[in-house]
């Protein structure tokens, strides 16, 4: 059997839907740009040229890093048919606790960094796991509970803790920002500028490529292996596809739900690391919305490690390069719309593609076999 062609065919099929979604977003936003009187070709050209600069790439990677981890966190739930809408609350809570605790202790770097990472993962896992426990013990749908827990974390717990723990914050990029006590340098992850500069030129403009990128890549690899290669991952996917068959196949449904929520939350705990371990503290006005964008990243990347990476880079590119749009007379906000259109178009395209694929598979299977079996026609 010509396996390689089937593999290519499958990759093409998988790529068709997101590419279509991005193209649709391009066309629609071009129309909008034309309406507001700017030249789409010029605008997009500028964005791409801008993105090819080394400093912009650093910005894009810095932006993509938390988005990607957030996407992975959401993807863990999705692969089991669970909607962890609560990544937002989980990562903010994890980040502020980890930042505070990390600033309190004095440890050598090889212990300090893992310690902070562990604290963040634990807090995220616990908060997410709570939603899992509510689901299995009280039958509360995780969408509802995580929406509520999000609000409780963001407007309640985090707001409360920031009032308690905020100090002078730290000076970043010459600007003082209010936030938690800064984490000593032993607890910060060094930037990757030195490593990158080995292969390229010097990175200027004071840009620093976050070392958390390494953690993000590791998270992606762990996610991929865990989901696709381990027995646990098999159990998780099976539970997501058909919970009843999974249960009959010996997979304990309740434990899987709690475990999946815990793992998802543990990944969510890592989202805030760029903030606290790169910049060094938890700011009083943290960037919000990473949790929700993470859901978008997971959806666009079809809950796969590589797909989510591409999606995160695309979103980061749009965010970062939007700044140059004003030079071609276009409002930079156009990219936010593009992101929205991409997601909506992508989820619709995936659904359409899925149906088309199923029909195709059933047809080829039937053709290959010349079945003449008279059954199941009445279903």
């Amino acid at each position: 059997m010509n396996t390689s062609t089937t593999v290519w065919r499958r990759i093409l099929l998988a790529a068709a839907a997101p590419v279509a979604a991005v193209l649709l977003a391009l066309v629609l936003s071009s129309l909008v740009l034309l309406v507001v009187g700017s030249d789409p070709l010029d605008a997009f050209g500028r964005m791409v040229r801008h993105a090819l600069r080394l400093e912009t790439m650093v910005d894009i990677l810095n932006r993509a890093t938390p988005l990607y981890i957030s996407g992975i966190a959401a993807a863990v739930g999705f692969r089991m048919g669970l909607f962890n809408i609560g990544v937002e609350g989980q990562y903010l809570l994890a980040a502020i606790v980890a930042a505070h605790v990390g600033a309190l202790v004095a440890l050598p770097a090889f212990l300090h960094i893992p310690f902070i990472v562990l604290v963040a993962m634990t807090v995220g896992a616990a908060y997410s796991g709570f939603a899992g426990v509510l689901k299995v013990t009280r039958g509360i749908n995780e969408v509802i509970s995580t929406i509520m827990l999000n609000a409780i974390a963001v407007s309640g717990l985090v707001a409360f803790l920031i009032n308690r723990w905020q100090s002078g914050g730290a000076v970043t990029g010459g600007v003082g920002r209010v936030g938690t006590e800064p984490i000593p340098s032993s607890g910060r992850i060094p930037d990757l500028n030195g490593f990158v500069e080995l292969f390229t030129r010097e990175i200027t403009q004071g840009k620093r490529l976050t070392g958390v990128l390494v953690i993000a890549v590791l998270a992606g690899v762990v996610f991929h292996l865990l989901i696709n290669r381990t027995r646990f991952g098999y159990d998780l996917r099976a539970s997501g596809i058909n919970p009843i068959a999974a249960q009959v196949g010996g997979i304990p449904p309740k434990r899987m739900i709690v475990m999946a929520m815990i793992i998802s939350g543990a990944f969510a705990g890592l989202v805030g690391l760029t903030e606290i371990m790169h910049i060094g503290f938890f700011p009083a006005n943290p960037i919000q919305g990473l949790g929700f964008t993470g859901i978008a990243v997971a959806l666009l990347g079809r809950n796969r490690a590589v797909g989510a990476a591409l999606a995160a880079l695309l979103f980061a590119f749009l965010d970062v390069s939007s700044g140059v749009l004003q030079f071609s007379g276009a409002p930079r906000e156009i990219v936010v719309i593009m992101q929205g259109i991409i997601i909506l178009a992508a989820v619709i395209a995936y659904e359409v593609a899925r149906r088309a694929r199923e029909r195709e598979e059933a047809r080829t299977a039937a053709e290959a076999l010349e079945v003449n079996e008279t059954e199941e026609v009445v279903a």
């Binding site: 059997m1 089937t6 290669r229 381990t230 027995r231 646990f232 991952g233 098999y234 159990d235 996917r237 099976a238 596809i241 058909n242 009843i244 068959a245 999974a246 249960q247 009959v248 196949g249 010996g250 997979i251 304990p252 199923e358 598979e361 059933a362 047809r363 080829t364 299977a365 039937a366 290959a368 076999l369 079945v371 003449n372 079996e373 008279t374 059954e375 199941e376 026609v377 009445v378």
Partner: protein, 507 residues
Amino acid sequence: MAAAIELIGITKRFPGVVANDSVNLVVEEGEIHAICGENGAGKSTLMKILYGMIQPDEGVMRVEGQEVRFASPLDAIAAGIGMVHQHFMLADQLTVLENVILGAEPTRSGGRIDFDSAEQEFRRVAEAYGLVVDPDDLVEELEVGERQRVEIIKVLFRGARILILDEPTAVLVPHEVEELFRNMRELKEEGSTLLFIDHKLDEVLAIADTITVLRDGKTVATVKPEEVTAHDLAELMVGSDLPTPEAGESTVRDEIALEVADLTVQDEDEREVVHSVSFQVHKGEVLGIAGVEGNGQAELIEALIGITPAASGRISMDGTDITNLSVRARRELGLGYIPQDRHREGLLLPSPLWENAALGHQTKPPYAKGIWIDRKGARERTEEIVAEFDVRTPGVDTPAHALSGGNQQKLIVGREMVAEPSVLIAGHPTRGIDVGAQAAVWDDIREARRAGMATLLVSADLDELIGLSDRIVVMLRGRLVATLDPKSVTPRELGAHMTGANGGADA
């Protein structure tokens, strides 16, 4: 006088199969006409065509002499045809009246429902046919039999003169069946024409005026009940050259593989659905459990598998008490399961075959290596299954949903058999699959039986039970009410035990 329904040369093809192959049918006005046939004979397709839910590829339909062409059920309703679905089309949270008037609501100005006249009409219809239901009850509060009456009222409310009943007795307990038949006769008295699907021959013979038998999508005979016996009908349904299961030499050994003692199981509402059931299955033995669906068999299976906890009693396998073990622990001890509903319980439809083959066995080699899934080992094992159990598929990476039902079932049987279980629970193992696959599944079970496997066979197919089992127990209302020898029992006797018609333990 024109016939109520006349079908000439109705043909309906689906990809790969011809569901109805030039079907001819004449239903006279005011008669009760039964359509018999095995699963997959094309009965439901025919009913759906009659009700406008699907459209035939060829053929002519006449209703009361007029040629008709239904684009949707609405056209059928307009032509005076009503359908009582096997799975009730009733919303639990709506009242009986709301369910009945849905789609045919009497309204006042502004789209207001005229509940008063609706209720009057409801009561008129209900009383005319002797159907007793309170219109203000929520449907969720009703018993199964009552729900069926609501369905019938719903059809009559729309002025139907021709009623199609799709396996109306499948969900009923015996006294409800009697009630239904009484209602059906009353409907006939009032001038309605009834067309009903059934494959329980004693019922068909008891109620029908005319019987049409379908086989492989074709009409093979139209007979009068006075002229035939149940045996004749059965032969017409299955044809003469079809394989029947044959247990052959007994391979029963002395060792007990599965022992169930005083097992009681409760449903979600803490009602007892299995009462203090005890039995033993020996190595090399097939124990058949007969019973009308809904008499506790499904719950018994769930308790044995470990999905539902036992309320009391003991289950042991090869001498080990497994009553409190998890599903996984039981399966690792050698419990195999062929589920009663393969799409619901047995398959990961979008996943490749090799992942489906691993389901239930994913903790052990060759599917697993430590904490990892052994993709290579799993694929190889799946290829063995595909070859050995004749699963027709382009490859082991094909998703399960692309396979036909028979091949899906062969895959499930294969994955359980290659694991060499010491006890196999088989729930309706050949339901809804074609004749060839059916014979293959029977052969597989027989072969494993020779090797010492103990099998608990739950089936609604009486021939299957009689042909495969070494011993048959009958389950009625959650209790085991009789033990029978398949060598001497006839389907009719078995049926009598299943419905409690012989007096038995049923009060």
